[in-house]
């Protein structure tokens, strides 16, 4: 390993710390929202086997204000699903700062694959 490689390794160490903090924060925030939804679900006597309202982004804020369990559950689920993508987005910034264009490109491609999934999922829904 040359001196350039050492510098890159040092940069990655900082990135690993940021990514770890983000993963932990995302997980705890998501679990907190989902747990709130479960408590509201129990309090309102709903069963996990009841038919749940389908996901509707336009209703999310209203449901949260109205303390609807589904609002908190959907928000928690969105945080769960968005956290890995956020980690990759943070990595893109980290790799660009480290001057590692190749890894930054790989990370951008990962985000594009997720976006393509959402697009194709919506198209076939």
């Amino acid at each position: 390993m040359g001196p350039g490689q050492d510098a890159k390794t040092a940069q990655t160490a900082g990135l690993e710390g940021s990514v770890a903090r983000l993963l932990r924060l995302g997980t705890y925030v998501a679990v907190a929202f989902i747990a709130s939804g479960v408590i509201l679900m129990l309090a309102s006597g709903r069963s996990p086997l009841d038919v749940a309202p389908s996901f509707d982004p336009s209703r999310l804020v209203d449901d949260l204000i109205a303390l609807q369990p589904s609002g908190y559950l959907w928000l928690g689920l969105l945080v769960v699903l968005a956290t890995p993508a956020a980690r990759v987005a943070v990595s893109v910034v980290g790799f660009v700062r480290a001057g590692d264009r190749r890894m930054a490109t790989v990370a951008v491609l990962v985000l594009l694959v997720i976006a393509l999934g959402i697009l194709l999922g919506t198209a076939g829904a």
């Binding site: 932990r24 679900m41 709903r46 996990p48 086997l49 699903l81 999934g117 999922g121």
Partner: protein, 274 residues
Amino acid sequence: MSIAVLMLAGGVAAGIFGSLLGLGGGLLIVPLLTFGFDLPLREAIGVSLVCVIVTSGASAAVFLERRVANLRLGMVLELFTAVGALLGGLLAFLVDERVLAGLFAALLVYVAVSLLRPRSSALPAAGDETGGSRKPGRASFVDQLSGPDYRIHRLGPGLAGSIVAGIASALLGIGGGLVKVPVLHLVMGVPLRVATATSNLMIGITASTSAWIYLIRGGIDPYATGPTAVGVFVGATIGSRIAHRIDLRALRVLFTVVLLYTALQMVRRAAGVQ
């Protein structure tokens, strides 16, 4: 009320045993929800995908802080697990649930058998030792992905294995560690500890790529997911703290029986016998 509490408790149990046996949650959550709570198989798979992302998040953070997980290698392989998960996620809504049940039964038998195999610490590492002739252009990228005390081999087969892991994850609601760890360790020559940690880090991207498709297509039920996900998260946390105090040999034998019995039930479902 009681069903929610039962589901929560079931999630806790799946989380504890999954973590103790190193199985990840998906393998236990899907049968729990289909046979315990009569959820349709595809819906159980959607719930399971969410659960594996939640449980992997906190442990991946720990692996990164301890500098065990290889972030760069994980990112490159993730691109390919994500492509596999994209294909698998779309495929999951095209195939009959009975096909999924058949695949899940095969997975359960494979894991049940592998639980009984003795854990060998001297698994054959891939390829030769560091050194030899290298092509400068390609080798530099491989160098970047290698760790301080190991060098990766066979990037091509590793990438192909990652696509398979992604498809399996999306179709069956598992993290895919069952495929990723052997690919990293046996094919690419990554030390087992690093392979496990890097595979764990990759679960988030692998499972969330297909979970978005499940969510958009109505395959994730928030009411069933809520108690299960919270339970699994709590259970996995407990499991990781008590693992060193428990004799896992008896547990492995017990779970081999449980998994084989569950596989039989899945076969019945695949054959249309309810």
